[in-house]
Symmetry: C2
Subunit: 198 residues, 2 copies
């Protein structure tokens, strides 16, 4: 296979061959160029070279273009908690979830940077991002409870894990090194959180 | 003064004498009775016995009825961080902010319970609450940085403080004891967070 085909199969090209990827890139470009509010679904479809009908086959609305991968992240992190060794502490199980986040998103540094810039440009997108993080905290709390962790500790550990993810993700996105590692960044923040003292 | 007048002056009566308080109680009652989406500003004003014009003198829209006290909470917590002794650690300064939250909200247990139930009933209100908490974390981060705390530590400690506030506030709201103390609840959660180990 040519390098181009391999890149295509990996879904990592500047212009992904699939319609969903092209729509995502088009949406981010337009949100940054003219603003989220001023961009329509028709604009995004046109930029991506597809019809509005194709857009709606992939996404419910222009906001969801940037969020329809959320379930993959959440499911991976929840599975990591559920599948952690039976004798792993709650914090160790959350550490495994943070590693999983790195595996899911770690090879998307360039995309993550662009997406973060687009989210930061719109209050509505920022709110949607907050909702995503709150849901993630709820799902991780449930996963910890499924391991027999008490409700209060489960909530605290899950919230701590999500804080580590959010702060570590931000550090990773703003890290100028192209080979910056997301798992390392979020694990580092978790260690710093656990080391906090009064 | 009669007990009634004293209650009135303290703003703690079931029906607060001021229009803003009456509108707030009317809004919560209606959101719980018929749902946030199904309630209009006209409904709230009518229930409170005032005109829609009076409503808009106090609140920008029906969502803000439940949030226009947010600045008071944020300013009190930020001031506590800023005014903490110069040699207080970042975590100690955040502890002072948590104490301040108890002073601002601690005598509003019954109201806090009703408001929490109303917020929980609507996705839009939940999102607004998430935004409020994110802003609070940002303001506390800035206040810590103003004390000379480095950016990364400031962010971590502020996020930890907001987690302690959120989880402690929830525990307080769901505590059946009428004399439950908010400051104690949030301080307790902060201690539990700091005690987490891998």
């Amino acid at each position: 296979m040519s390098p181009c085909v391999i890149t295509t199969l990996l879904g990592m090209g500047r212009w992904e061959p699939d319609a969903a990827g092209r729509l995502r890139e088009a949406a981010i470009a337009l949100y940054l160029e003219r603003g989220y509010e001023q961009t329509t679904v028709a604009d995004i479809a046109e930029r991506a070279g597809v019809t509005a009908r194709t857009f709606f086959r992939h996404f419910a609305d222009k906001r969801e273009v940037l969020f329809n991968g959320s379930e993959v992240l959440e499911e991976s992190m929840v599975s990591a908690v559920t599948d952690a060794p039976a004798d792993a502490s709650p914090v160790a199980a959350i550490g495994a979830a943070l590693d999983a986040s790195g595996e899911v998103l770690g090879d998307r540094h360039a995309y993550a940077r662009q997406r973060s810039a687009a989210v930061a440009s719109s209050v509505e997108l920022q709110e949607r991002e907050l909702v995503k993080m709150a849901r993630l905290a709820g799902a991780l709390t449930d996963a910890l409870r499924g391991r027999g962790v008490g409700e209060i500790e489960a909530r605290l550990v899950a919230e701590t894990g999500v804080t580590a993810f959010r702060v570590g993700f931000e550090r990773w996105v703003t890290d100028p090194a192209d080979d910056a590692d997301l798992s390392t960044a979020v694990r580092q923040v978790l260690q710093e959180l656990l080391a906090l003292r009064g």
